[in-house]
Symmetry: C2
Subunit: 420 residues, 2 copies
Amino acid sequence: MYQIPRGTRDFTTEEMQKRRYLEDSLRTTFQTFGYKEIQTPMFETLELFTAKSGEGIIEEIYSFKDKGGRDLALRPELTAPVIRFYVDKLQMEAKPLKLFYFGNCFRYDRPQKGRYREFMQAGCEIIGADTPEAYAELIAMAYYLLKNVGLKDVKLNIGNLNILSSLFETLKISKDKQKQLIPLIDKSQFDEVLTLLQVFGVGKKVANEFLEILQLSDIKKITKIIEKDESAKKELAYLEKILNLLEKSFNIKNYQIKMSIVRGLDYYKGIVFEIDAPLLGAEKQLCGGGAYELVSLFGGKETPTAGFAIGFDRTILALETEKYPFPSTKIKVYVIPVNEETIDKSLEIAQNLREQGISTDIDLLRRGIGKSLKYASSINAEKAILVGPRELEQGSVTIRDMKTGEQETVKLNDIQNRVN
Amino acid sequence: MYQIPRGTRDFTTEEMQKRRYLEDSLRTTFQTFGYKEIQTPMFETLELFTAKSGEGIIEEIYSFKDKGGRDLALRPELTAPVIRFYVDKLQMEAKPLKLFYFGNCFRYDRPQKGRYREFMQAGCEIIGADTPEAYAELIAMAYYLLKNVGLKDVKLNIGNLNILSSLFETLKISKDKQKQLIPLIDKSQFDEVLTLLQVFGVGKKVANEFLEILQLSDIKKITKIIEKDESAKKELAYLEKILNLLEKSFNIKNYQIKMSIVRGLDYYKGIVFEIDAPLLGAEKQLCGGGAYELVSLFGGKETPTAGFAIGFDRTILALETEKYPFPSTKIKVYVIPVNEETIDKSLEIAQNLREQGISTDIDLLRRGIGKSLKYASSINAEKAILVGPRELEQGSVTIRDMKTGEQETVKLNDIQNRVN
């Protein structure tokens, strides 16, 4: 017996129904916001990802040489490929470009609960717009994407990395020291942040103020603390505009300001946001994104870019946790040839129903009525059509309602009406 | 600038609309036939593919070692992974299993016209049924999958590898010699087949009979020639049953018998078929499949299996060649804030329309009316909504029909009715 590769999954028919439901719902919302779908290859040149994330990423991804000696990598995320596509072929398109995509990504992680080596993401980028309304629309779309799939309990957190950078500058904390602080901030380990700030020689009062900002969600209070930091104040005013649009134009009021969002990625700049499903505990983040700079790094003419990604697995887990009633595509009609004589006519009846878009299955194993009815019941078919030789001579079949057990004799040309 | 890997593709928004149309249409037809969707990982252990196709396949696929030293391979096709999935997890399910799937596959081919290193396939397997009605339904589904996507000109060819094997046996042609003949038969190079048969010591009369069978499409004539071959006769009678069902029950009459179909694969047994789009010339084959044996090779309890695959690229090429009018998802409404004051209200108007499922875009770049109308026209928006400060004070906006240029003043709470 051959094993499935470690950390990867087979999806059953039930799981695929959930995944296709999610995909369809997300696609519909993206499209109503004026976004259009694109797709990039499953692998890229390795240097695309090292250029974006540094050599360290090689440890975490599936990289390999093709037979021509080229270094390739299964994509660990979708933003770098999309910006590569943009720089290569889309720079001349009318701005802003609003692009969305679905794709499998791959990471060479240690497999653990809810973390797989192959996983699916939905994502989008808006290229060429950095007005407050552009960012407000982007964040609102992320929120409504998740609301429209049926999630009740989601939490939107919004931060701004330029404010964080500005604070670091005021505190005279070098880039190297920032790198030690950022993972702690990201995990909300504020005691450790305080200790480390003191090790770095930041005075207790100033350090405490810094920590207060990271934990405050009241924009007025934050403004008061950073009063003297002109650059941070400007960023905060800009953020406030975005928040006003979210509230007034998009009717989103249950968000929180969270200056400790760092997204763990070097290329984010300015606004960042995350959407959580609090029910999921430690693995609660469903969506993350923000503004970033990547176009010029990839050789293009710099232009504002922002985007986000939604994790498929966690979103489905969140829906399951909320007991969302996923729709399922069912077989509507099951056709049963009563004996071998009626097989050809049974196939014809099935085919006629299918041509009307009615999902129809048929006994292909000559199982007899009893077993076939049991099978029809096991697949939740609504109706069974019994095709017997004597009835057929009279131009009729028997239609059985699988829920009530009621049966009626129906003329051949009346079957479609009766099953619909 | 970073390059896309050789032989792979980025898909633009226009191309994705075609691909999603095709995928949706195929999925709908699969489902009306009672098939259900599954999915397997993008890569498998290398030995899965060498077990099925021999060591030779390593030359043609992307294989690599993961960081744990395991030999993996990007899947070159989907049947082996699906049967691996079946043997591993689905053997206890009620038979027959009717499974379909979509997936990208990878081959390390020399890129050429219409052949890519990453390509998408749709496919299916029926597991646990080998009645004539099961095969007739499978072939009919393949045919209707392609008809339902909108193709007018498709050609169904049906063969039977058991008959070919039986003929080889009668002619006392060893397996090794068969291997030399099969590629020539596959390419319909019948002169070369004749020469080689004579080299192998087959008498001219018998060799000519063999070639006649390969080229005949009249089942009566074939039966007459193989009269003495009991095994081939039995297979032919079985094939005839399937063909009768195709004609009578599925109303498919324009097929051809083609005994020279060999599918180039060792594991096919019995019925085989191909569907071509003759308009495409040399690259005309859209679909190929048949009955095969793979379950026991993969460690499962042997059970009948059959399936087929449809190539996405060629199917789209065939539709394009027939000038099929692909549906396109368009932006219905484009909202234009006439100046900065009306941005928040414009976003709200857009959001209200989106909540009604109306695809709506909005000027996010403060471009002004002229440029925004030009943009709305370039994306084929049906309506533009101009949100001006003075009208807004009166609770109104202007809706412009982008085709006729007609404009009307509309109350805010009447917008939805007017754009629908």
